[in-house]
Chain length 364, copies 2
């Protein structure tokens, strides 16, 4: 067989598979990329059991069949190719893939393609969303999912679909974020995907439409050149709506970027061994942020627009939770305080799709 294609196309298609495939695995087929030769394209596939990824790229193909080789090694070689075009070839009966580009030539040993399972994808995709919309929804909330040491279900991102629209939501019990996409997918239900798989979905999606199918414990996505299966998480996601407060003695409005800068500066002094605590004090249209650690104390004040002007409130957050919550926001920021020990809400009144909730630290 002989194949020719642009080096950059090969590198891009392969990188999506390389990223999810483990470099080493006790399961011998798992580190492989499987390459299927189609009439006018190459199809790359790999899996890490939680996630199957398949990418297709146009190529000048002579011959057919399938190849397999270690994904990381192939990707590393491709990244180093000097030419704009790459030629791939396998001589009849040979067990090596010849790769040449410009003056560079390499041969990589092939593996039996049956050692690399070809992932199976659904035939029909009932749902559809804009690819950018889904990526934005997942990408905006993913930070609020828990890291490894927490209860498993908190390490997922929940997708809620109805004819009203599509919501992505994540929480680790100490904070929460949701993003409402004003698009109905045509599906009805809710599914929890591992946060790490959500990261890959965000990276894979680009322009255009993404088609969606659900079944057999997995969520499948399809775009023009990518197909993905994501294993869904079992278990019941916390009833997060119950914990979002609705009564706020104090509401302030300020610039999101200004608060992010201030919080990052002040947090330099926060005690990393004591929840990275920063203290907030709102009074008379001024938000004062303070941190105190082993080496001293830092403080900064920001003018804010305050509703509930006769009230004041002192509360404390983990500085990282505060800056994470601000990440998807720029421009106007509304902070609504339900009380010194009950959750605070952060959002942009002009862009209500995104809402972040942060639970204050217990103080005193």
């Amino acid at each position: 067989m002989k194949v020719q294609l642009p080096t950059s196309s090969l590198a891009a298609a392969l990188s999506h598979v390389e990223r999810i495939v483990p470099a080493r695995s006790s399961n011998p087929g798992l580190n492989l990329v499987r390459i299927d030769l189609l009439g006018d394209a190459l199809r790359f596939a790999g899996t890490n059991l939680d996630l199957d990824v398949e990418t297709t790229v146009a190529a000048d193909v002579r011959g057919d069949g399938a190849l397999a080789l270690p994904a990381q090694v192939f990707a590393q070689v491709v990244r180093a190719l000097p030419g704009d075009v790459v030629d791939l070839a396998v001589e009849d009966g040979a067990n090596e893939l010849s790769i040449s580009s410009g003056s560079y030539a390499t041969r990589l040993q092939l593996v039996d393609p049956d050692a690399a399972q070809a992932p199976e994808f659904p035939d029909a995709f009932e749902g559809r969303l804009s690819a950018r919309g889904l990526a934005r929804a997942l990408g905006s909330v993913r930070y609020a999912a828990a890291v490894a040491e927490y209860q498993a279900i908190f390490r997922g991102v929940k997708i809620e679909a109805s004819d009203q629209g599509t919501r992505a939501v994540a929480t680790d019990g100490f904070r929460l974020a949701y993003f409402d996409l004003d698009e109905a997918s045509g599906l009805d239900g809710s599914w929890i995907v591992p946060a790490k798989s959500a990261d890959e979905i965000v990276r894979l999606l680009d322009d255009g439409e993404v088609e969606i199918a659900v079944g057999d414990g997995r969520l499948s996505l399809r775009t023009d050149d990518v197909r993905v299966n994501v294993s869904l998480m079992d278990g019941s996601f916390p009833d997060y709506r119950r914990v979002i407060p609705s009564n706020f003695p104090i509401t302030i409005t300020l610039d999101a970027d200004a608060l992010r800068d201030v919080a990052q500066r002040v947090a330099v002094m926060a005690d990393k061994t004591a929840n990275n605590r920063v203290d907030l004090f709102v009074k008379d249209g001024v938000l004062q942020i303070t941190a105190e650690g082993a080496y001293g104390r830092s403080q900064e004040a920001v003018e804010v627009q305050q509703e509930g002007s006769d009230a004041e409130m002192a509360l404390a957050y983990n500085a990282k939770y505060l800056t994470d919550a601000l990440q998807p926001l720029s421009g106007a920021l509304r902070m609504r305080f339900s009380g010194p020990t009950t959750p605070s809400l952060l959002d942009d009144p002009e862009m209500p799709a995104y809402l972040a909730m942060v639970v204050p630290l217990r103080t005193g």
Copy 2:
């Protein structure tokens, strides 16, 4: 006391001390920066026992005396300051340094300044060189010094000074590099500085002149705003001149950047567990570079200008040694091969100040 100075000046002066001072140390004073208030300047000093660094920066100073505080914490706070100007203050009898810049204010706890030794520097500096020249000489050869696991003396960079000029030389026994600076320092002798200290000297030196003093087991340097003491290494540096070959059956000339690119690409396939070996074969004006590892083989050819045109030679190097040796070179590269198992020399005939020697791997 009260001090005002540009934030960028403070950050730059402090960073030199921060970099050498250990973040944690069982020696309690060692993580500190000592700050002396001079009439119109601040002087920062720190040490890691191998190296003392002192930097001076102009400032508007009211008051006198000395302060000390943990270098890393102070530097981290200074990097986060929002304003162009920073105000430092200590209230009479207080034990805290107030730092304010723009809307940001912080207080850092001070330590008894006597806990941070003020390094002592020589009164007289007998030698002098251009700062850029010394930095270039040390920076060009430092890579050839050994890493931790080798014999101590190989982890140093030797400086040879005579009325003929100044040479920096480093070797780990498998490769060697020297750089001849065409400047006589006024000193006569040779000294070995730890390679890590050489790195710091390179970072500290800028424009202008550097004055040099040697004595009491240390080398001291002085510029307008920096003073440094470097502990010298004991022991006898290998007699490297003896091992530099002088008879070359084959000499080739090629473009240094082209060889660097080719070597890096081919080395992707080199076996990291077998000395990262790349094979070179010179014949008929062509240099062929090949690497072979667990996953396959890569090969690339470069046209070269060859003297000794009826000869051919096959030899192998550690790919990293080859690319390291090329680092200070650009433009014309001359490679002189003394034999398949004896050292090869790399230099630029137009810029003979720099010479690299690489010992081939044993093959077969």
